[in-house]
Amino acid sequence: MKDNGYLCLVLHAHLPFVRHPEEEYFLEENWLYEAITETYIPLIEVFEQLIQEGVFFRLTMSLSPTLVSMLRDPLLQSRYIRHLERLIELSCKEIERTHDQPQYSHLALMYNQRLHKAKEVFVDRYQNDLVAAFKNFQNQGYMEIIASCATHGVLPVLNANPESVRAQICLGVKHYQNIFGCQPQGIWLPECAYFRGVEEILKETGLRYFFVDSHGITHGDPCPRYSIYAPVYCPNGVAAFGRDWESSKQVWSSREGYPGDPDYREYYRDIGYELEYEYLKPYLRPQGFRINTGLKYWRITGPTEEKEVYRPEGAAQKAALHADHFMANRQRQIKYLSSQMDRKPILVAPYDAELFGHWWFEGPLWLDALLRKIAHNGGTLSPITPSEYLKEYPTNQVVYPSPSSWGYKGYNEYWIEGSNDWIYRHLHLAGKRMTQLADRFLSGGRKNPLIQRALNQAGRELLLAQASDWPFIMKSGTTVPYAKRRIKNHLNRFSRIYRDLLGGTIDEHWLNQIEQKDNIFPNINCAHYFRKVT
């Protein structure tokens, strides 16, 4: 059957930079380890299997520079292996413990096998470097990896200091070029947050497109003829693709969304909180507090505290049914839209990658089933990447998108409100000072290597403080003390470098220490990108 429209699946993989060499065990580093085991490795396995079986699929993915830096960091890689080995040991112990309880023992065995598999993929197949896996998928033509901003700063909020916005974008692109060895075609704006004018920097850096939430397009100027079902060009020719709300809702929504199905695994019931403390103690951190282990034996069941035992086969069947349902709905959408348009419509469905596997345990299974169904009996629906769509349809309407984000209520409220608004005066002041430093010390002929190092470290500290994750955590009320401490630590380190540079007394020993700690972008001249915009 003739293709009548396209589905553009976009996975945005991001974690804040949580690397703490100063302590042997650090709770927040678990965010990375859990995401590797539950999301990145399962996704890699799905894609590898599809390629091996000759299933044609196309996917767009962004890997944020902070995530890529952590995935390539030798210290975190070795710590991840240690983490994995302890979990494997715990799963072995669980097989023994549940020996007389068949309903649990096969689950313990399943986790044990998954963990062994994860170790095999991580250590043997990719020699600890998972970024190489994604790079391979791109090189083989199955995936288009796009850039993201340096440390996931919310650009409209940072725009009080235009130099900070420029640095976030340019460093993100530079980092991409260093890692993937090519020019990115598109970019994922952190939190999908767009403001008018940012497209000028995107164009300067050679980027052709970005994504906005639905109302970024529908409230654009003039009113777009094809709504969100075709990209639009900003006045400078950079394309904006709008998120399809219907596709998103079916995966994200708490009411209609798939991940809340009673047959799926319950995230919030982990043996780390369920079993006896003495039994678990060897697998908890030296500090001894309970943590998520990733071993969960129950399913969502319903709105009750009495959870039933998880049945992997039933959940897998449900994932396949949900993939069917998703595809059928997209086909219906496409069928209607293509009758109204002079071109094939495109449905853009962006998701946080960590939803698949970490939050929604069956997410990778669903994705696998969906990609297979589209390849084998998609009929009216084909997978596509934004670059391919722009190649097929280089002529699009000029519409200036409206400022927007995919956060709460569609704007920046989640990142600017009572719990977190205090950070911006400090961030903007530091941004202003960073530009002063860059302008003062980067111009002129001979450059002192120590000054250069201090300048770059100042840039790193500021960038790490600008991450959207810290105000997000403050608002969501999850690990607030950690988020506050991170902002304060980075800004205090920045201020000390600022004073030292102006006073002409750089403490090299201390600088060495913080270079070891906050070692993101080691080979990039970070300070250069903070220079005054002329």
Binding site: Y233, P262, R425, T478, K488
Partner: protein, 250 residues
């Protein structure tokens, strides 16, 4: 289906769930990091403005009492009884010179160092000044913020269409764009980058006028004759429609 809020979550959000559970051993306290210093000597007064949503903006400032002292000479006796205010300006479509705002309003801020400001309209450009206001309503600004543009809360009323073709050029990494619009279906009138820039420089020219300029440039004197012919044709068709309408009524 569903019980968990799945909208926009990240890996670390689970910590909320963690905190609800009973913890057998609490985490040992970490050494407290030092607080952030707000201002430093010699730092110029600064005011930053950020957009929260279509109807709210957020202002934060770094100003010391010493900065306000600078206004003392200008204000003379009025200084002692003056109050600190934020003046919010709507400067949509303006080259703002400090006096030509479309409208403005004041908010008394006392000794606060930030303010969430509600707006009366979406889709505007605005900036803010902080300063002292005397009893006689005289305002003495100290520092002005950056300019921000608030989002539109509604779809645009503009339905004009401009189309653009962007293709990779021979030069690596550079893309060429070509914009056009049309009066009749299939008839393209090409626009320059300057035209597009002018179009979005609101209140810029209407698309119709831009297209007329383009046609004039292409056809020269013939353009007036063509326009007259076009207008005559339009009138003729209008008359025909009116006459059809009369016939139908009869």
């Amino acid at each position: 289906m569903g019980k968990r809020p799945m909208k926009k979550k990240t890996v670390f959000q689970k910590k909320k769930a963690v905190s609800r559970k009973k913890k057998t051993v609490s985490r040992p306290p970490r050494p407290r990091s030092s607080t952030l210093k707000k201002t430093s000597p010699g730092q110029a007064a600064t005011l930053w403005l950020m957009v929260r949503d279509p109807y709210w903006i957020f202002a934060a400032w770094e100003i010391t009492p010493k900065d306000f002292e600078k206004l003392k000479a200008k204000m003379k006796k009025a200084f002692s009884k003056a109050i600190r205010v934020l003046r919010v300006y709507d400067i949509t479509h303006l080259e703002f010179n400090g006096k030509n705002a479309n409208r403005s309003f004041d908010i008394e801020v006392g000794k606060a160092d930030n303010r969430h400001i509600p707006l009366w309209q979406d889709g505007i450009q605005c900036c803010v000044e902080i300063g002292l206001k005397t009893k006689k309503e005289e305002f003495f600004p100290l520092v002005r913020s950056n300019t921000v543009e608030t989002p539109s809360a509604h779809p645009s009323a503009q339905t004009e269409e401009i189309w653009m073709t962007v293709k990779p050029s021979s030069k690596k990494g550079v893309h060429q764009d070509l914009s056009y619009s049309s009066i009749k279906k299939g008839k393209r009138i090409y626009l320059s980058r300057e035209d597009i820039r002018r179009y979005y420089e609101r209140p810029g020219p209407r698309l119709r006028d831009l297209l007329a300029d383009r046609l004039k440039a292409s056809y020269g004197k013939r353009f007036d004759r063509l326009r007259l012919a076009g207008e005559r044709e339009r009138e003729k068709s209008q008359r025909a429609r009116a006459s059809d309408f009369v016939h139908e009524k009869r």
